[in-house]
């Protein structure tokens, strides 16, 4: 009886084709991706039929924190209504996010110090440079120095703790009885001033016709209301959001956008 000889085959599989595919996929993802920006808290925006995209450049985002959803807090609403701001600069490097942030900070601090002569905020150049690297922040001016002194990990932890009274930009006292602006309004004023300055610089020597073509922070802020976007959770009470609106109106920034997710017209709303 002859034995059936099993031919030994090599188990090597040619991975070249596989490698080609993965490299292609990788290239696709690398080219199309925009990274998720680090935000201290997650909010789920309500959906709307508006199809206008959020601009990637020249944008100031105001984030309103939602009530605690993890169920760890006894009073979930304690985490609600904290304000955070993030600045995104222009498309080219002449007005990068870092530069815009530093300009905003310097302007805001000078407005604040002008109003609080007894306890001014004094930042070192190192701390100012550090601010340029932070995507989203939210704390009163009095805590700014403390926040900038923290390491990156500690800062994330600090800003992520919504129940900490030192987190979130104060917004109380809109009607400024004593003539002082609250911290949020100081930031809004700084945004307005800086945006106007940028616009003046870019439009210097241009005819009004040409100036209208200039796309920058100021132009998008004032003309189209695209420069400021308010991002809030769908379950946040209107009264909380209303306070933000009211402050924006007081600071004459009454044209702005609300961040939403997309849905179709036929979809039931309820």
């Amino acid at each position: 009886m002859g034995k059936v000889k099993i031919k030994r085959k090599s188990t090597l599989i040619d991975m070249t084709a596989m490698s080609d595919v993965t490299v292609l996929l990788l290239t696709f993802f690398m080219l199309t991706s925009t990274f998720l920006q680090k935000e201290p808290t997650i909010v789920y925006t309500p959906s709307s039929v508006s199809e206008e995209k959020v601009p990637t450049y020249d944008l100031v985002t105001v984030l309103v924190s939602s009530a605690d959803k993890s169920g760890k807090l006894e009073d979930p609403s304690a985490a609600e209504g904290k304000l955070f701001i993030s600045f995104t600069g222009g498309e080219d490097s002449t007005l990068s996010s870092e530069k815009v942030r530093i300009m905003m900070l310097q302007e805001a601090v000078s407005i604040y110090n002008d109003q609080h002569k007894n306890n001014p905020v004094e930042l070192t150049t190192g701390e100012v440079a550090e601010f340029g690297k932070i995507n989203m922040f939210g704390c009163p001016f009095s805590e700014l120095k403390y926040m900038l002194g923290l390491s990156i990990a500690d800062r994330d932890k600090f800003l992520g703790n919504m129940t900490d009274p030192r987190v979130g930009i104060p917004i109380d006292g809109n009607k400024n009885r004593d003539g002082r602006l609250n911290d949020f309004q100081v930031w809004l004023k700084a945004i307005y001033n800086v945006a106007q300055r940028i616009n003046n610089e870019q439009c210097a020597g241009l005819t009004p016709e040409e100036a209208r073509q200039v796309q920058n922070l100021y132009a998008s802020l004032m003309r189209q209301g695209k420069g400021i976007a308010v991002k809030a959770d769908k379950d946040t009470p209107f009264t909380v959001v209303e306070q933000v609106f009211d402050n924006l109106q007081t600071m004459k920034l009454n044209k702005f956008s609300l961040m939403t997710a997309l849905k179709s017209e036929d979809e039931p709303t309820q």
């Binding site: 070249t16 991706s33 309500p46 206008e52 769908k234 209107f238 009264t239 209303e242 007081t250």
Partner: protein, 244 residues
């Protein structure tokens, strides 16, 4: 990893002939690494960009009474918004999984003498059913019929590629602001329990129904009066204690 096999199966090699070599490079680790990178990029990217809804609010500065524009009573419609709560969370409908919002609306001037029947009516955000507007959308559409007829015509022209998207946007904007047509003035009044989603839903209806004149105000005493009376007549509780 990489193997070089010499194919020297028997036979004498000719002198001077080049050795035939087969080169195998094992790409498995390369694929492994690529897969890891792909996973990383997939997890770190946002494919869906959020949308924005533009809004323009009036200034907070005092405006003199003479300078205020008055809307005709026949054009006005007031929506009082409310969100139902369960405990300290917005109530979610078990069937649709969406938050329950209510709208109480009246047309024209508030009828505080309650002489006309149905001075205050109840609606909900239902959206479209079988491509037909339902709920509050139907009410608002009826109010803005003249603009909507023209808008639908424009939309068909755009769908048939007779006009471009830019032209369509421009014409639709002109149409919505056409003062020759009867257009409603909508006052949105979010009650104390309304969530942000309720407001966005209402603003959405403005956009869907091409309503160019609307404002957001807080409910006043007259509105509470109407709601209280509605409760008495219909035997329901609609004014709930403020949750937050």
């Amino acid at each position: 990893m990489a193997q070089i096999e010499q194919s020297d199966k028997g036979g004498k090699k000719k002198k001077g002939a080049q050795k035939k070599m087969q080169i195998h490079v094992d790409f498995t680790p390369m694929v492994d690494m690529n897969m890891l990178l792909i996973t990383f990029f997939m997890l770190c990217t946002t494919m869906i960009k959020s949308q924005t809804l533009q809004i323009a609010l009036p200034t907070n500065e005092e405006v003199k009474k003479e300078q205020m524009s008055q809307a005709k009573a026949s054009e006005a419609i007031t929506l009082i918004l409310d969100t139902e709560y369960e405990g300290n969370k917005p109530k979610v409908d078990a069937e649709t999984g969406k938050t329950v919002h209510h709208i109480y609306y009246y047309e024209g001037i508030a009828d505080t003498l309650f002489q006309t029947a149905n001075y205050l009516r109840h609606e909900q955000f239902i959206g479209n059913q079988n491509r037909e507007p339902q709920g509050i959308r139907r009410i608002l559409r009826k109010k803005n019929e003249e603009v909507m007829v023209q808008y639908d015509l424009l939309k068909t022209r755009w769908k048939n590629k007779e006009i471009t998207k830019e032209e369509f946007d421009k014409l639709a904007k002109e149409n919505a602001a056409d003062s020759m047509k009867t257009r409603p003035v909508v006052v949105i009044k979010p009650g104390p329990n309304t969530t942000y989603e309720g407001l966005i839903n209402a603003l959405d209806e403005m956009q869907i129904n091409q309503i160019s004149r609307y404002s957001i105000e807080l409910p006043n005493r007259v509105d509470t009066l109407l709601l209280r009376h509605y409760e008495q007549v219909n035997g329901v509780q609609i004014i709930r204690p403020t949750v937050r």
